[in-house]
């Protein structure tokens, strides 16, 4: 019947929404609310920015700004906030660099009519998720896919993967790294969008 020594820490972690977040909460929020918007964000960036080679960096800068703001206060609508941040960033860059955007980014329609639609309910997302994961996995280069499947699905260690594939451990590392990286982009972006990346 001993008192639980660490119950105080738990209480500290159960702050209401709207209050400042811990790193773990910020991560959870980012993964849950922001990452699902990536397909739409990439589409927006491509439509509004001429130089394709900048787009990954723009995306990263938007995520950094969004998380910085969310640390202080969680935005009520992640979607509205992400796209407002994106528009502001592009506007700043245009002003600084005196370049001409492809389309008028101040136009609210440029995000698409779906901008204010609520996200799907989680059960539907979960079912869709599995199918999209499978699609992403299928699109990996064969050796990357093999390493990822052995590691993530069969649960082998790096050393075991090397033995199974008959290759050096350093090579397994490379396959896993590049496979993970490609899987992340493929999964977070629509297949058609990912294919168009520069």
């Amino acid at each position: 019947m001993a008192e639980i020594p660490d119950s105080g820490r738990e209480e500290a972690d159960l702050r209401p929404m709207g209050a400042a977040m811990t790193a773990a909460e910020l991560e959870a929020w980012f993964v849950r609310e922001v990452l699902p918007l990536e397909t739409m964000l990439m589409r927006f960036l491509r439509r509004n920015w001429r130089d394709r080679s900048d787009i990954e960096d723009l995306r990263q800068e938007i995520y950094v700004r969004v998380c910085e703001a969310a640390e202080a206060e969680i935005p009520k609508s992640a979607k509205a906030f992400v796209f407002a941040t994106a528009r502001n960033l592009l506007t700043d860059l245009i002003r600084k660099e005196n370049v001409v955007p492809i389309a008028a980014i101040a136009d609210p329609d440029s995000v698409g009519p779906e901008a204010d639609e609520p996200l799907q309910d989680r059960t539907l997302i979960a079912k869709d998720e599995l199918r999209r994961l499978q699609d992403a996995l299928d699109k990996l280069p064969p050796r990357h896919r093999e390493a990822v499947v052995l590691g993530r699905i069969e649960g082998l260690t790096g050393r075991e993967i090397a033995a199974r594939m008959g290759i050096a451990e350093g090579t397994v590392s490379q396959h896993l790294k590049l496979g993970m990286h490609a899987l992340t982009d493929l999964y977070l972006r629509d297949a058609t969008d990912a294919g168009r990346r520069s």
Partner: protein
């Protein structure tokens, strides 16, 4: 790319993403020393962009584990087609009852190993015990609970066969802690959480960190949810729903770990049902009018008499001892 708008960032986003992927695979698949951890921590601390890139890679990598679910039907022995209907909860309860009979009534028992690395722990009605695992994780069993734990170099698995348990898990990226319960799988991502296998539904409450809940019953469409602190997943064989509970409610829900039950505007019927999980001496509420009365307060889990006295003095109910039970009526 030269980035005039962000001169402090020298690496491109793609380079940072690749670094994040590399850290993730190093942590997940290779020997990981304290020194590696320190270098990794420093890399994370270096910039927000690094942390975000890592979260992004990690979230997809963790999701990818769900692909295992797709393999399950193919690896089924004999390749048989999964049954069209979910195994009814009743069957599971019947199996659990046999375990309870073995356990007996005195205190908690470690029932021994059923295989090399598997151990079975159980508590009787009214029991409560703490299991300390060798990796520093701690599991608390509530009343009338049975849990199998299997750990080895590669895996940490537990099966909640019945009841309720609180898990305080030391995170190990290479060896996630997995709890199987009622056709669902909870994968801890470094967490404190509780699991309650109720009569008709499973409840997973996340207190700290992050955990993932997946359905494992292949006869139903896959369901899954990632839980954040303060969230409760309620799973039936057909669905998973996630709700947020206010802190006050979560605190009272955790009261059993301190040996108390706390009610806020609970109906007498619900409060009695909760008490009956902990005691051989049952509270029977016989009157429709009185069972809907609301009750507030904190009670020791085993003090059925105190509950009876409160029902009498506060609600004006009639309270009688009948045989072993306490009967509450108008």
């Amino acid at each position: 790319m030269t980035s005039p708008h962000q001169p402090e960032i020298r690496q491109s986003a793609t380079e940072i993403d690749l670094c994040a992927a590399d850290w993730l695979q190093r942590r997940s698949f290779w020997k990981w020393s304290a020194e590696d951890q320190a270098t990794f921590d420093a890399w994370l601390a270096e910039s927000r962009a690094h942390r975000i890139a890592y979260w992004r890679q990690k979230s997809v990598w963790e999701s990818a584990q769900r692909l295992k679910a797709l393999r399950a039907p193919m690896t089924r022995p004999g390749g048989s087609i999964p049954p069209a209907k979910a195994k009814p909860f009743v069957l599971r309860v019947a199996a659990a009852a046999i375990v309870a009979a073995v356990v007996g009534t005195v205190g908690y028992r470690y029932l021994g190993s059923t295989s090399n690395n598997e151990k079975v722990y159980a508590t009787p009605v009214g029991g409560r015990e703490t299991i300390a695992l060798s990796d520093g994780s701690r599991i608390e069993l509530n009343t009338n609970t049975s849990l199998r734990v299997r750990t080895d170099k590669k895996t940490r698995m537990a099966t909640l066969e019945r009841g309720e348990a609180y898990f305080d898990i030391r995170h190990d990226a290479a060896r996630p802690f997995i709890v199987d319960v009622a056709g669902h799988r909870i994968t801890d991502l470094g967490t404190k959480f509780t699991v309650r296998d109720g009569a008709d539904r499973l409840e997973v409450t996340l207190l700290q960190g992050k955990a993932r809940l997946d359905s494992t019953d292949t006869s139903n469409p896959p369901n899954s949810a990632v839980l954040s602190p303060g969230e409760v997943a309620i799973a039936t064989p057909q669905s998973v729903t996630v709700i947020r509970k206010p802190k006050k409610e979560l605190d009272s829900q955790m009261g059993w770990r301190r040996g108390v039950l706390t009610f806020y505007h609970a109906t007498l019927a619900d409060a009695a049902r909760e008490f009956n999980r902990y005691n051989q001496r049952k509270i029977v509420v016989v009157d429709n009018a009185v069972e809907a009365e609301l009750i507030d307060g904190t009670f020791p889990v085993n003090d059925v008499d105190l509950f009876g006295r409160v029902a009498h003095s506060v609600l004006g109910a009639r309270v009688e001892n009948k045989g072993n039970d306490i009967v509450i009526s108008r």
